[in-house]
Symmetry: none
Subunit: 126 residues, 4 copies
DNA sequence: GTGGTCTAGACCACA
DNA sequence: GTGGTCTAGACCACA
């Protein structure tokens, strides 16, 4: 099961972080179950067309933060007990940034803040 | 009226792009009206604690894309006629990505999709 | 094959733009073929005696306009499909300006219009 | 008789130098005869929409190089004996740069080097 | 090794 | 005072 990762070289986010984000998203949505094996570094690098060093960097960060575990000679696996999210100290700031990014990304494609809002409502009702 | 910009050095996105995004958001939400003066490069750099060159790079990019206009010796101003956004070919896809990123970012900080939705509603009512 | 670039510090044109112009000229005359590698930022900076940042700025502008492509960790290359030039609305006006500037620049150095013409012929025959 | 000056803010050449160039061109082509009066700094600044300091800077440079003379309380006049052009030491380099600029400017408007060459021929036959 | 970002600071162009 | 260019040099991302 290949991870669904679309790299966006125009987004300004380093490739190794985009990989980490995609893995986190797969974990958050259950596409990647606890203890399930991830693609090998070599395979994922091949799939994405990047240097294996770049995937390795992402896996290293994810392991350091407790999201995945690598077992020497066997492969890399989703953690059984994922780390709990940090308490929100700066809730207001986080929300403002989420809003801002959504609005900018929408404006870049001709969508108004209200378009985005309406879409969110629709998705949450589903 | 200082632009509300919070830089996030852990996000991987270059500082100059975070500045551009914040200005674009201010333009998109009307906080910055056409022809309104932006903070000077020096002032914004001081406010953000970054080097003036970094702000200058952001302003240069924004000018190149037609969002702002800088007048040497006078200052930098929001464009009167902002560039029209490209037609939305894959509206559904764009909206899905915006939603996904917002939700993943929220989850990372312990915020639910409904928290985000409620926050959007609040901001749009303002 | 080093790019033939002579910087003129008395011309008033910023160095990074002179570099861009020289690259564009090399592309226009075929001295630089599609997908051919350009000198690295560091090498060109050394050759010209300028700061690498200055070359980087030129390359960045050229990339933004689609003339070249930079591949991180690998180098910088002439675009395979250069951007199409805008349609010539005021062809006559553009040609007149080009002629005038060439002649004035020549006169400033004691060269006649015929000297310039003869030189053009020679270069196009090469 | 207003000098025919079109400032081009996208050319990278400082405004005060574009003014100098236009005056030099008018002198070279005889539009401005020896001892003929130039527009006052104030008038030319108004005509061009620039700060008088900018025109003053141009006139100062032109006077320093012997192209014009300012007579206190009377105005500014074309020199009676214009300075002779410098001997061409680096003829080859000057010609190369003239060629390069012409080609780049043409390419920017969809004109080939041959278009420009043909145009030069036409103008010289006239 | 090659490109990308950022800083600190100098000096210039224009109003 | 405000924006524009350039340098010297540090550190990071990617191959």
């Amino acid at each position: 099961m290949p991870l669904p990762i679309d790299l966006d070289y125009d987004r300004g986010v380093p490739v190794y972080r985009q990989i980490s984000e995609a893995v986190l998203a797969a974990l958050a949505t259950g596409q990647l179950a606890p203890d399930e094996q991830l693609p090998t570094i070599h395979d994922l690098a091949g799939q994405l067309g990047v240097n294996p060093n770049t995937v390795a960097r992402s896996y290293r960060d994810l392991e350091r933060d407790g999201h995945i575990v690598s077992r020497r000679g066997r492969g890399t696996f989703a953690a059984i007990e994922p780390p709990s999210p940090p308490p929100v100290h700066e809730r207001e700031e986080v929300l403002r940034q989420i809003f801002e990014r959504a609005v900018v990304e929408g404006a870049r494609h001709g969508l108004t803040p209200r378009d985005i809002f309406a879409d969110f409502r629709r998705r949450l009702k589903k």
